[in-house]
């Protein structure tokens, strides 16, 4: 039997001015299970809480109702009071007499009638409340970071610096991602490689970081605290333990192919490091183009290798490890504009390039040694046109979103052209200039002063006339068509989620948004978490971002991971769903609606109605994953799955009480 104590708070005059608290307390004594009631000026105050504790002892109370402000304010306060008074904190219920009664009504008589009803509902629920206890789950103190661009590196370093073990997985032969490809970073114009390559080295040398380049995550099982992850190490064909990174093999390799790292603007050997400062600074063999691996000819690299590190028999390797947390840092790719932009020539004009190709070209360690040259004839361009929002903010044919970084890097490119070729003419076709960021707008203004001509409008057509490109567009501020004769056109193409990121999300166990970006658990309050507990987001995989935002988010994700890994056990929220195997028929409808994949069907040893031993299927809730939304409960017709703290009978009881 429940012995319920009801405590009506005056909240000074906040409640008492509109609700007759004594009358409510008196009425409460008639409710089922209520053995004690009282009203008091401030229940949440120290004396108020002592008053409750004393009543628990004196009246032998085993359930408490406090009628005061919103539970969003003081539910936790009073739960602690119960715990201090020796009661399970979940034997508590709250009636909201302030925000939802006294403050919204003026007629004292009617407000009092309503207050009595609200207390009646709370008491009815309290009558059905049960003791709830948290359970614990172990935490494996090791984090997995997927993707080693600037986001992944930063997250890995921050977690490792806090003293936790990190495994950093990168699918390319080098870590670093896109940032080392860039020349300078806006708005400070410091050298991108100069600030990113030291980070790469730091990652490689950190005692708490295990680096797995040229590897991919292939399977993820388990849940927060203990994810079991299978990783595939691709065949490198070079034993990195023996290799000294001398680079002799690269110089002797007779086959050259376009270098992905230079976006086709330069060439590389088939045994290669993507770029000079690559980490690990040791080569791999490209199995698609290496003559030895394709035709079993050549074999020169093995012959010249002074340490015998080349191994053509190398094979991929699978291995498994367990992690407490996962950070997704898979970054972005650029929109394949050649597929849809017929008006820009579908990629058939060599002098129409992307911003990232421009970065490689303007980069001193890039394929042109930092000299701006037209890909078609190697001439220095004297007239350069930049087009922004190619694929972004274009819902009709590409993506509806803004890619956020393009306004600034285009301003930077314009500045760089004017810096390197002082007599050049620079035109920027734009829709808006979005320069919201510290020192961003100033940078844009400076670019205007440098002499870049900003034309507000879209480009409708690019075509070749002789060696020149004719760029036709609109100046929408003047309402006139404009035509520019250009030597080079640079497109600010949209960022899109990196290739394979959707499949990876499925592997890890959450869903991306409609554009393929990783969906955060809450857009405002949980921006670096996914709906899957223990999986966090860093950088552009969550949405287009520039470097400062990426690094900040990576730090935030790392802080979340550190918070998680700082505990050896996780206390679970007891207000989660429970499945009653005696009633569950194993239909699995609840499994599909759970946003956290917390429910699975398991086999249960049982006896059938004839006493025969059988195994039957029932739903089982993982309390580490369940967040307590209760969506599953409604799918369950027999109520076999129910939500602790908001059970079917508790809510029905609240409803019934109102008309009792």
């Amino acid at each position: 039997m429940r012995r319920i104590g009801v405590f009506i708070c005056h909240c000074g005059s906040n409640i008492a001015a509109t609700v007759d608290c004594a009358k409510v307390a008196e009425a409460a004594r008639g409710f089922p299970g209520v053995v004690y009631s009282a009203d008091y000026k401030y229940m949440c105050s120290e004396p108020g809480q002592e008053f409750i504790k004393a009543a628990i002892a004196q009246e032998d109370l085993n359930a408490i109702v406090v009628a005061s402000c919103t539970p969003r304010m003081h539910e936790l306060t009073f739960r602690k009071t119960l715990a201090n008074g020796g009661l399970n904190p979940y034997l508590f219920e709250m009636a909201n007499l302030r925000e939802q009664c006294s403050w919204v009504h003026t007629d004292k008589e009617k407000a009092t009638v309503k207050a009595i009803d609200l207390v009646k509902m709370a008491a009815a629920k309290a009558n059905k409340n049960e003791e709830l206890t948290s359970s614990t789950m172990p935490v494996h103190k090791k984090a997995l970071v997927i993707g080693a661009g600037i986001a992944g590196m930063q997250a890995a370093l921050d977690i490792a610096d806090a003293g936790h073990q990190v495994v950093l997985v990168e699918r390319e032969p080098t870590i670093g991602g896109k940032m080392p490809m860039l020349d300078k970073t806006f708005p400070t114009m410091d050298c991108s490689a100069c600030i990113s390559t030291p980070k790469m080295v730091e990652v490689a040398q950190h005692p708490n970081i295990e680096l797995l380049a040229y590897a991919e995550v292939t399977e993820v099982k388990g849940f927060i605290g203990s994810f079991t992850v299978q990783i595939r190490q691709k065949a490198k064909y070079v034993d990195h333990d023996k290799c000294t990174g001398c680079g002799l093999c690269e110089t002797k390799c007779p086959s050259k192919v376009p270098n992905e790292y230079d976006l086709g603007l330069g060439q590389r050997a088939c045994i290669y490091k993507p770029f000079a400062q690559a980490v690990p600074n040791k080569p791999v063999i490209d199995p698609l183009h290496c003559r030895k691996l394709v035709d079993n000819k050549c074999g020169l690299c093995a012959k010249v290798c002074p340490t015998g590190a080349v191994n053509y028999q190398d094979a991929e390797r699978l291995f498994t490890d367990t992690f407490g947390a996962i950070v997704m840092a898979t970054g972005y790719d650029l929109y394949p504009w050649e597929e849809i932009y017929g008006e820009y020539g579908y990629g058939r004009f060599p002098d129409v390039i992307t911003g990232l190709q421009f970065e490689r070209m303007v980069n001193a360690s890039g394929p042109t040694g930092g000299k701006l040259k037209r890909p078609s004839d190697g001439q220095e361009p004297k007239s350069v046109v930049f087009i922004k929002c190619v694929g972004s903010r274009e819902p009709a044919k590409a993506k509806g979103y803004c890619s956020r970084a393009c306004c600034m890097y285009t301003a930077k490119h314009a500045h760089q052209v004017l810096d390197k070729i002082p007599d050049a003419a620079v035109y920027v076709f734009y829709m808006d200039v979005r320069a919201a960021g510290k020192a961003y707008d100033e940078f844009y203004e400076a670019t205007l002063k440098d002499g870049a001509v900003y034309l507000r409008g879209r480009v409708s057509k690019i075509y070749q006339e002789g060696s020149k490109l004719i760029v036709k567009g609109e100046d929408s501020l003047l309402g006139r068509p404009v035509q520019v004769t250009a030597d080079l056109v640079v497109l600010a193409t949209a960022m899109i989620p990196s290739q394979g990121s959707r499949e990876l999300a499925q592997t890890v166990g959450f869903l991306p948004d409609l554009d393929g970006w990783y969906q955060e658990a809450h857009p405002k309050l949980r921006p670096v978490e996914t709906p899957t507990a223990g999986v966090f987001l860093a950088g552009a995989c969550q949405g287009p971002k520039d470097i400062p935002d990426t690094v900040a988010q990576a730090g935030a994700a790392a802080a979340k991971v550190c918070g998680l890994l700082s505990k050896s056990q996780l206390e679970t929220n007891p207000m989660t769903a429970r499945s009653n195997p005696a009633i569950c028929s194993g239909c699995g409808l609840c499994v599909a609606v759970c946003p956290y994949k917390a429910i699975q069907l398991i086999s249960l040893a049982d006896r059938d109605r004839y006493g025969k031993r059988i195994n039957r299927t029932v739903a089982d809730v993982n309390h580490g994953l369940c967040q307590g939304c209760g969506a599953c409960t409604v799918t369950c017709r027999s109520g076999a799955i129910d939500l602790q703290g908001f059970k079917n009978n508790q809510i029905l009881e609240e409803v019934d009480a109102l008309w009792r």
Binding site: T70, P71, R72, N96, R98, E99, Q100, S102, W103, V104, H105, T106, D107, K110, A111, V113, K114, D117, L118, M121, Q519, A521, H522, P523, P531, M575, V593, P595, Q627, G628, C629, G630, A631, T633, V634, L643, F646, N648, I651, L652, E654, V655, D656, L658, W659
Partner: protein, 144 residues
């Protein structure tokens, strides 16, 4: 308390509000000291997807004159996708209730965010007015 008679009948409206949006929207009405009729009683649930349509049937059976289910706007669910299920369930349930003769005004579902105090106030005010115009709900009622 005076016995409720036809003459002084006041409707009772039950509102199921999700903890994260609509319940805090209702709190915000109070914080702003805006007013609405005394007829509304709120049941707090973690998510609108926790609201079993059977609770609605039960409320009408016991004597509710109107029922409101309120949750976060689609896309803003604290649990990501809960309210999408809510939407499907109550699109269907609302039509079923109308089919057995419960007037459409008596059951409503609404998306009310934690910031939409005005929307909460206006929604329940309108609901109470509509129900006062309709009179007491007698269908599905327990015979007493």
């Amino acid at each position: 308390m005076a016995l409720m008679t036809e003459a002084n009948w006041e409707p009772k409206v039950l509102a199921f509000c999700c903890n994260w949006c609509s319940y805090s929207g209702a709190d915000l009405v109070g914080l702003n000291r805006m007013k609405y009729p005394e007829n509304v009683r709120i049941v707090r649930v973690p998510c609108s997807a926790r609201v079993n349509p059977q609770f609605i049937i039960r409320a009408f059976q016991r004597g509710a004159d109107g029922v409101l289910v309120a949750g976060c706007h689609p896309g803003d669910c604290h649990y990501s996708t809960g309210n999408y299920y809510t939407r499907r369930r109550f699109l269907v349930m609302k039509r079923l209730l109308e089919f057995i003769g419960i007037e459409s005004q008596r059951f409503q579902a609404r998306w009310i965010s934690g910031a939409e105090a005005v929307k909460f106030r206006d929604t329940v005010t309108k609901l109470c007015e509509d129900i006062k115009a309709l009179g007491p709900q007698r269908k599905l009622r327990d015979q007493k």
